[in-house]
Amino acid sequence: MREITLSQAVNEALAEEMRRDETVFIIGEDVAEAGTPFKVLSGLVEEFGTGRVVDTPISEPGFMGIAVGAAMTGSRPVVDLMFGDFIYLIMDQLCNQAAKTHYMSGGKLNVPLVLRTNLGATRRSAAQHSQSLHALVAHIPGLKVALPSSAYEAKGLMKTAIRDDNPVVIFEDKLMYNDKAPVPEDEFLIPFGEANIKREGSDITLIGTSSMVQVCEAAADILAKEKIAAEVIDPRTVVPLDEAALLKSARKTSRVIVVDEGHQSFGITGEIASRINEKAFYHLDAPVLRMGAMDVPVPFSPALEDITVPTPEAVAENARKLMSGEMIHAA
């Protein structure tokens, strides 16, 4: 199978959907000629024209609001938010308007838009360009949240997102744009709410999101050498969440670590850990651990930035502790 980068995968998904449905358009900063600073959208304006690949001024609330109204009246915008950190700017349009319109109208108005943005630190971009804020939007009823972990997921999830009649927020890991993965040439969609078991194991479950899936896989490799068989699961979407798959794994292994690049506290890991606690309690032989980014603003200095995110070694070390029955916290 051919291998393409995550950037190419996203580009393909958008191009295919825009060919398929003429109401799909892209709106955001530097999306046309520039193809965005990450060059993901290069070539699209040439094919679809500036009417459908629309450059905007630096007006995040403005073009997000326009996208909401456009979506409510018959088109399907893909909003390009250059950095996930800018989500704070558009929260009213995203969370008060887009998320709630279908509900507040008693089901009569739809907002079929996609907000395409990114997450991920360790790029030396400092605190305001390095955040992973998917937990903020996952918290809001009415928004779907997708977290592709490779080029394959990026394409399949994007196509599903565009065809979904609900507002969907997709976060790509900005450090993965050049990472290749096998991606089929033929059309495929990845449904929301369906986790992917990346490898099976019976000793411990590692649940990872986005690039943390790669971290979990690397940790699983380390553990395999120590005869510990880790099961690695990629939920792919956190809203909707494939709870059944996660619970099934937790019951099988009786030990779980959830790894996410959002902050450790009050985030994705806490939600997943909590659901496993509620519904797999009597199968747990160890506390469910959360591993997220440190609860600090992302530091600029590489020496500091790199220690704020979970690493394969750190995941493996926690796994060893759980396997040994060591009491992680004082009783």
Partner: protein, 446 residues
């Protein structure tokens, strides 16, 4: 400078040598090459020569003593006197590799029969020596009380168990010795240098002088207990229960314990450190199913009943005359079988040195028949009425045993069995029923 005379290594498999006889006496002048003593190997006897010129001193072992290979048993000294202080003889290098003298002089023990701290009860693994009744060098007879030891219940006197002389006492009064440890040595011959040690001394020397077995050395404490079967590596010593009484255990292990009817408390009592996880179920399952104390208590049962008269003899005579039942042992079997209150019992009757086994169905005594070959005996009846034996305490055997002995004009009936043969209630009932039948046989038959 003194030369050491050691018990030589004599063969591949041998780690002690028996001194047959000495050719020289302490204080004698010897020349290098003179035969000093004769030692017996498993193949033959062998003469051991003096290694140097000098005087034979500090003889540690007499003729007849068995000495571990490598032990120093004498010195060739410059003068005829024994060394005042044997610790000068060789440096006690704790870390020295196996050498000709694996143990320094001072740690060498006299040869002799070992007296160990006996096992005193199920739960006890040390004994406190209250007092010695003999001193080093004293003559002692096998049945003499050698020392007193305190158990958790009382003080117990322990016999010497060997004739001879107290060659060494290896613990002091007031010290605690682990069960199985050697605490005294009784030698056949009078020791020249009887030894009084303390456990504290021995412990430090033992630790210093751990050597491969073939070097000999002090007999060491009992083997380490086998490590737990479970892989969970818990380095902590036996843990105490939590002050708040909680057991820290994962939800999974609690559920597993519940499902299997196991009690996590038993892990706590066994000192298994918390928190408990699913793997600890295996530890829990491997704990003894019955608490040790009650097991000990219920090893065997012995009940007695005394009857003022032997009602059976008259009855047997009557049965022979009137009913043609001339087989008295069969009648006994019938009464015994009836006392068991079962539909069918196989009863063995021992009398006059002979054992006959009967199949006893419930019902008339006339239905008793010899038992088939290979049937399991349920109960044995030992008829000792015509012997001089007045009482028995034989302990549990393969089956419960009812023994009849004469007691003046009457009878004594003793029931002995293992705790698993009969419950307390069953044993009581059996003896009650049988005693009643023996006392008034006719009454029970009607």
């Amino acid at each position: 400078m003194p030369h050491e005379v050691i018990m030589p290594a004599l063969g591949m498999a041998q780690d002690t040598g028996l001194i047959v006889s000495w050719f020289k006496s302490p204080g004698d002048a010897v020349k290098s090459g003179d035969a000093l003593f004769e030692v017996e190997t498993d193949k033959a006897t062998m003469e051991v020569e003096a290694p140097a010129d000098g005087y034979l001193t500090d003889v540690q072992a007499d003729a007849g003593a068995e000495v571990p290979v490598g032990n120093v048993i004498a010195l060739i000294s410059d003068s005829a006197e024994d060394s005042a202080n044997m610790t000068n003889a060789a440096p006690a290098d704790a870390k020295s590799a196996p050498s000709a003298e694996p143990l320094a002089q001072e740690t060498a023990l006299p040869a002799g029969a070992e007296v160990i701290m006996p096992a005193l009860g199920m739960v006890q693994d040390t004994g406190l020596i209250v007092a010695w009744h003999k001193s080093p060098g004293d003559a002692v007879a096998s049945a003499d009380i050698l020392f007193e030891v305190e158990t958790d219940k009382s003080t117990m006197e322990v016999e010497a168990g060997h004739d001879g002389f107290v060659a060494a006492l290896l613990a002091e009064a007031g010290e605690e010795a682990p069960v199985g440890d050697v605490i005294a040595i009784i030698s056949a011959g009078k020791p020249d240098a009887p030894v009084q040690r303390s456990i504290a001394d021995m412990a430090s020397q033992k630790a210093a002088a751990r050597q491969p077995a073939q070097d000999g050395g002090a007999k060491i404490a009992p083997a380490d207990t086998a490590p737990a079967k479970v892989a969970t590596p818990k380095a902590a010593p036996a843990a105490k229960p939590r002050a708040d009484g909680r057991i820290l255990a994962s939800p999974k292990v609690r559920r597993l314990a519940l499902e299997r009817g196991l009690d996590l408390n038993r892990l706590v009592e066994a000192g298994h450190p918390q928190p408990y996880h699913a793997a600890d179920i295996e530890v829990l399952k491997s704990l003894p199913t019955v608490p040790a104390a009650s097991e000990a208590a219920a090893q065997s049962r012995r009940l007695t009943a005394d009857l003022p008269s032997d009602g059976f003899a008259a009855f047997a005579a009557w049965a022979a005359d009137t009913a043609g039942l001339e087989d008295a042992p069969a009648l006994l079997a019938g009464l015994a079988g009836g006392s068991l209150r079962r539909d069918h019992a196989t009863i063995a009757v021992e009398s006059f040195g002979q054992t006959r086994t009967f199949a006893v169905p419930a019902g008339p005594l006339s239905a008793i028949t010899p038992a088939d070959e290979g049937t399991t005996t349920d109960l044995t009846l030992r008829d000792l009425r015509l012997s001089q034996i007045s009482s028995v305490a034989l302990g549990a055997e393969d089956t419960p045993v009812l023994t009849l002995t004469r007691a003046g004009d009457g009878l004594s009936i003793t029931l002995e069995c293992a705790s698993h043969h009969l419950t307390a209630r069953e044993a009581t009932s059996l003896l009650y029923e049988f005693a009643g039948r023996i006392e008034h046989p006719l009454r029970h038959l009607l």
